[in-house]
């Protein structure tokens, strides 16, 4: 096994192409055979080499012809439903790969933001040194809030429902009533978040007062309004 990465394009060199064809054709036949055995199903392969006109087939001419007639006897719809050629197959693969890429990027972003959060904890008051834009701040705020929720839940567990102070009590009550609604914040328009941020009228829980106009994370205790517990648009689960 060479394990060298092969470029997904026609091999220009005749000898290399021939060698590759020989190996891969053998491997392909083996895979068809394994699929058939392991899953107890019928399968066949027809391969026309670019070098000569005689096809190579698996398992045998008789079986192949039998399967082909079986295939042709199926309604056209059934035949074409799961039929692909290079074009459609590659498009499927591309779509799948893009999905994976999206997921991985989202994951990485979450990790990056968490990193920023931890950094922000140790450089108190110097958050600005990290040069964050609105998007980053939004995500950061969300992650901080998620962590706070988790902490409150955990604290509730540890306290075994005993007397908790008012703030964590409110938050704990909220977390439990909310369950695991991770995606509920998404619909929020960012404007609302900022509005809440700047509007001291809504800040009536007695949490952070004075010059801090930031809303208390769990709002005014009403979970009826969607915005009260989810100030930060959910960046992770659109």
């Amino acid at each position: 096994m060479t394990r060298k990465k092969v470029k997904l394009a026609y091999i220009p060199s005749d000898s290399a192409r021939k060698a590759t064809f020989k190996k891969r054709k053998k491997g392909l036949m083996k895979k068809v055979s394994e699929l058939s055995t392991l899953c107890g199903i019928e399968a066949c392969a027809i391969i026309f080499s670019p070098f000569d006109g005689e096809p190579e087939i698996w398992p045998s001419p008789v079986s192949v012809r039998h399967m082909l007639s079986q295939f042709k006897n199926m309604p056209k719809m059934e035949q074409s439903k799961k039929m692909v050629n290079q074009d459609s197959f590659l498009k499927q693969r591309i779509a799948r790969a893009n999905e994976q890429l999206k997921r991985q990027r989202k994951d990485n972003r979450e990790k990056e933001i968490t990193k920023v959060m931890f950094k922000g904890l140790t450089t108190v008051g110097k958050l600005l040194q990290q040069d964050l834009n609105m998007l980053d701040l939004n995500d950061l705020g969300w992650i901080v809030e998620q962590n706070l929720k988790e902490i409150s839940k955990r604290m509730e567990v540890l306290n075994k429902g005993g007397s908790i102070n008012s703030s964590s009590g409110a938050t704990a009550a909220h977390s439990s009533s909310q369950g695991e609604k991770k995606s509920s914040g998404f619909e929020q328009k960012q404007q609302r978040w900022l509005l809440d941020l700047m509007n001291p009228k809504q800040n009536n829980t007695g949490g952070f007062r004075g010059e801090d106009v930031i809303m208390f994370p769990f709002g005014d205790g009403e979970s009826a309004t969607t915005h009260s517990n989810n100030l930060w648009s959910n960046p992770f689960y659109p």
Partner: protein
């Protein structure tokens, strides 16, 4: 360390005893088979047809240039027709496939980059966990630690809010000179307009991949 699967295991060449495993195996292996066939066609210019009947009696098939033509070629034992039109169609098709292969390669490469980055980030987190107790998973912290962490996070949250407010204010105040005829938007940036000129002096992005090029504010990660 969480593993997604057990890794490569040797499998006995008999029909799989477990029904659901069999289904999964069929699904995965069929997909892999088509992938190999596709590669054979691309790399060597072979013409291939593969027909597979599923455990559920459905039929899956792959063919290049297409299942019908390869099947016909096999059944009729005719050499492939090489008419002028056919050649043109063939050429078009091959060009399209070339494009798609390039696209696929590109996406796969990007995916690999991101996966590596993910691993890197995991390592970094592990390393810093050794030194900073607060970076450990929340389940591992005791009550006083949780209290302390909670307070710090709430402080941080305030900072974040303040910082956001600051940026907002900076953005909504036009700079001293206002040139109505200039190509810029006159210095007035709408708060959530990521395409506006950066005249507030903050870094466009600390994150790789230019996330602030995404339209739509609330998405954050896309």
């Amino acid at each position: 360390m969480t593993r997604k699967n057990k890794g490569r295991q040797k499998v006995e060449m008999v029909k799989m005893p477990n029904e659901s495993n069999l289904q999964v195996t069929f699904s995965k292996r069929r997909s892999g088979l088509f992938k190999k066939a596709s590669e054979l066609c691309t790399l060597c210019g072979a013409e291939v047809a593969i027909i597979v009947f599923s455990p559920g009696k459905k039929v899956f098939s792959f063919g290049h240039p297409c299942v019908e033509s390869v099947v016909e070629r096999f059944l009729t034992r005719n050499p492939p027709q090489i008419s002028g039109t056919m050649q043109l169609i063939e050429a078009h098709r091959n060009a399209s496939v070339r494009e798609l292969n390039m696209q696929l390669t590109q996406v796969l490469n990007q995916l690999e980059v991101e996966k590596k980055r993910g691993e890197e980030l995991n390592q970094m987190r592990k390393a810093s966990q050794a030194q900073c107790w607060w970076e450990a998973p929340i389940e591992e912290l005791n009550l006083p630690q949780l209290e302390q962490l909670k307070m710090s996070l709430e402080e941080l949250k305030k900072s974040v809010g303040k910082q956001a407010e600051k940026i907002l204010i900076q953005n909504s105040n036009p700079p001293p000179q206002f040139f109505p005829g200039s190509s810029s938007n006159g210095g007035i940036n709408l708060p959530f307009d990521h395409h506006a000129k950066n005249n507030t002096g903050f870094n466009p992005n600390m994150m790789p991949h230019g996330y602030n090029n995404n339209p739509g504010f609330g998405r954050g990660f896309y």
